[in-house]
């Protein structure tokens, strides 16, 4: 669905949709909702969409991606929110998005969905409850057996809870406490409108009213500091040859900046083994998602004098290769070949979701100061 050709800002774009709802939607059988996707990108982000020939409409860029099954291509608007962070607006269904743009993003180096870590996702939830008197009508919450989050009942279980009920605000807290789950998708009711948010940076609006759609901008602003920090750290993890000058001479030396993930509590050996895919005898190997993304070769786990493990990690989607060395306190991620910043974000996500949700990502030359 293409808007009139104008010089848009995000605001005027949302206004255009809001003011001309009937013009754009008429009598479509299937009501399409406005979706916003937040993505992390490398600096020259427009290059990433070059093959779709984006059309400039002010600050927004319009492009289409052919859909192999349908005759009609899918349509998107992209804009930069700030350096390293872009927003995609679309009216396509989730399914169509998954088959087109998401598939492209998954494999394209230099771009990734903006993962929102649990404590920040909680921040968003509280923001909407406090500032918009919204309430939660449904949510999806998950737990990995190895999570360090406490669970009153049977902590060593993988679980997914889909909850529907007008008392979502209370239920989320109760289920978090009783079953140690963390929400990944929440449906909010704000007045008579609804808004869905996922921890992969997807927003779905069941309204086109600008007072509501602008919420996405407020939310991004509220979490911007943390998200920019994550982007900055992950893009700092790299390896290159540098010319060192001294007097009239110079030599080329390799300069590395490795990532450092610090655990919030000592890592047990069994979890290191699970991470490396060596815990299969306990019948709790990796989840399907993990297997999809990272592969570990040349694995080594030593335990006699304290945990020390290492492996070469391959990000199968982005073809990055990096090495990890881990102890009970931290994991270092050493860039090796063709690494790209999003591999480190997604590896950090893997650690956060399956091992330690309070683990912090930093870089070796500037370790995080304990909060």
């Amino acid at each position: 669905m293409k808007l009139a050709n104008k010089e848009y800002t995000v605001d005027s774009f949302l206004e255009e949709i809001s003011n001309h709802e009937t013009k754009y939607f008429e009598e479509s059988k299937e009501r399409k909702w406005l979706k916003t996707f937040l993505l992390y990108v490398e600096s020259d982000w427009l290059q990433l969409f070059k093959k779709f020939n984006p059309e400039k409409n002010g600050e927004l860029y319009y492009f289409m991606i052919p859909n192999s099954k349908e005759d009609k291509p899918t349509e998107y608007y992209a804009t930069q929110f700030t350096d390293g962070l872009i927003m995609i607006f679309t009216f396509e269904t989730q399914d169509e998005y998954t088959k087109t743009l998401q598939r492209y993003i998954n494999k394209k180096r230099g771009i990734t969905q903006m993962w929102i870590k649990p404590e920040i996702f909680k921040q968003i939830r509280n923001y909407l409850i406090e500032n918009y008197q919204s309430y939660i009508t449904s949510f999806i919450a998950k737990r990995t057996w190895s999570s360090e989050i406490s669970s009153q009942y049977r902590p060593r279980i993988n679980r997914t809870i889909h909850y529907y009920g007008e008392d979502g605000i209370e239920s989320i807290k109760e289920l978090e406490h009783l079953y140690g789950v963390s929400p990944t998708l929440i449906d909010f009711k704000i007045g008579s409108d609804s808004l869905r948010i996922t921890n992969e940076g997807m927003f779905v609006f069941h309204t086109l009213e600008i007072t509501k759609t602008r919420i996405v901008l407020e939310i991004i602003n509220s979490i911007l500091l943390e998200q920019r920090h994550l982007h900055k750290i992950s893009t700092s993890i790299e390896s290159h040859l540098e010319k060192i000058q001294f007097g009239n001479n110079s030599i080329d030396v390799r300069q590395i900046e490795s990532g450092l993930i610090k655990f919030s509590r000592p890592l047990e050996t069994i979890l290191a083994r699970k991470l490396l895919g060596e815990a299969n005898e306990l019948d709790i190997g990796r989840s399907q998602d993990d297997e999809l993304e990272f592969s570990f070769i040349d694995k080594d786990i030593k335990d006699e004098r304290g945990l020390l493990f290492s492996a070469t990690v391959i990000d199968k989607l982005k073809s990055s290769v990096f090495g990890i060395t881990g102890t009970k306190d931290e994991i270092t991620c050493v860039p090796m070949h063709r690494t790209t910043f999003e591999s480190f974000i997604r590896f950090y996500k893997l650690i956060s979701e399956s091992v330690d949700s309070s683990a912090q990502l930093g870089i070796v030359s500037d370790p995080i100061v304990a909060k």
């Binding site: 001294f246 001479n249 590395i256 030593k302 270092t332």
Partner: protein, 384 residues
């Protein structure tokens, strides 16, 4: 190092059987060969025996990895942005004398500013400390003899050479004691903590050290001595060293292919020589192009030999032969193929060895039964 035989094929028995001529001998030989074949089959293919051999090869792979880990622990802090690179000490390369084909050390680090080059050996076991120290003495001599070459190539800015041992913390104290005894000028670096496996590198010097000893066991640069204390390091950095186990060299093939390159969707599971050369050039930084190419081609050749890789019609293009495209599954596949191949080679070698011995024995026996015809024409003084 295992010597590679020119032709690992079992020798053709026919000509030898022909040579034996006599039926009794022929039968004996065939029976012996049969016995030999069965014996070796039992030795190499029996599941228990096979497992033992598999474990032995696995042990070699692990040993090689352990060594590489200590090398990485020593060199990493000189590449990672931090205290030591700020001081101006940089990791240059591994095996600096390899192009000359002479006895070498594991790595060299240089500070162009301070004009110091540090040559180091990583050791995973210091059980034979005196041998280790005398070997290092020899290497030191070789390095000094090649000072000019080194200054023209890898350490152009250094006029002071130092020597260092990198070891796991639990080995450091013992080796240090022996170094002091030997009176050599070798510095000791320790990887890890004394009480645990922390990921740090430190210079090891006991608290009370005489000035005289201090000069021998510490670096000339006091700034380095002060900063090389509990420095963050890593055991993952280089995936291959020039003398790494073939499995380590080939492990790169488990993730190299262009399969996931979105611009090359039709090239699944294939790679070109130049793709591997690119990776080897980074792993073996500062090595001559000739040596990089030689090692790269050797790795591909070996991978073809064990059936992990197949050459395609397109020039210098290869395909990975593996059930899975997942690197982890491929690595297991590669390991199995390598070990199976090594065991088969050992079996063929043993078969060849024993056959040759048997043939020699049979030859003697034949001579006894059927001496050569000219012996009948030897001059018989006793006269007939």
């Amino acid at each position: 190092m295992i010597q590679l035989l020119q032709n690992d094929q079992p020798i053709d028995d026919k000509p030898f059987i022909e040579f034996l001529k006599l039926d009794s001998l022929k039968k004996k030989y065939s029976d012996e060969i049969e016995k030999l074949t069965q014996q070796l089959k039992k030795e190499f293919e029996d599941p228990v025996e096979y497992q033992a051999k598999y474990k032995m090869h696995d042990g070699e792979i692990i040993k090689d990895r352990n060594h590489r880990q200590v090398v990485n622990a020593c060199i990493y802090p000189f590449s990672q942005k931090g205290k030591l690179t700020k001081l101006g000490y940089y990791f240059i390369r591994t095996e600096p004398l390899l192009e000359k084909g002479i006895s070498d050390v594991d790595f060299v680090i240089e500070s162009p500013k301070k004009q110091i080059a540090i040559f180091g050996e990583a050791k995973t076991s210091t059980v034979n400390a005196s041998k280790i120290i005398s070997e290092m003495k020899t290497r030191k001599k070789v390095i000094e003899e090649n000072e000019q070459y080194l200054q023209q190539t890898h350490v152009p800015n250094s006029n002071k050479f130092e020597y260092v041992f990198g070891t796991h913390a639990i080995e450091t104290r013992d080796l240090y004691a022996r170094i002091v005894e030997s009176n050599e000028k070798f510095v000791s670096w320790q990887y890890g903590g004394f009480d645990d496996n922390s990921n740090i590198l430190s210079i090891y010097v006991p608290e009370s050290v005489t000035k005289e000893t201090r000069e021998k066991v510490m670096h000339q640069d006091d700034e380095l001595n002060r900063n090389l204390v509990r420095v963050n390091t890593n055991i993952t950095y280089k995936n291959i060293l020039p003398k790494s186990h073939p499995l380590a060299m080939m492990s790169i093939l488990t993730w190299i292919d262009r399969e996931n390159d979105p611009d090359n969707d039709d090239k699944k599971g294939t790679f070109r020589l130049k793709d591997l050369l690119e990776i080897f050039a980074i792993e073996l930084e500062k090595f001559s192009n000739e040596l990089i190419e030689k090692l790269t081609k050797k790795t591909i050749h070996e991978a073809v030999e064990i059936g992990f890789v197949r050459e395609l019609d397109e020039t210098d293009t290869y395909k990975i032969i593996s059930q899975s495209s997942d690197p982890e599954a491929r690595y297991e596949d590669l390991k199995r193929k390598w070990i199976d191949h090594a065991i088969k080679k050992a079996k063929n070698r043993k078969l060849l060895e024993k056959k040759l011995k048997l043939q020699s024995k049979m030859r003697e026996e034949k001579l006894r039964i059927q001496p050569p015809i000219d012996s009948y024409f030897k001059e018989d003084v006793s006269g007939k």
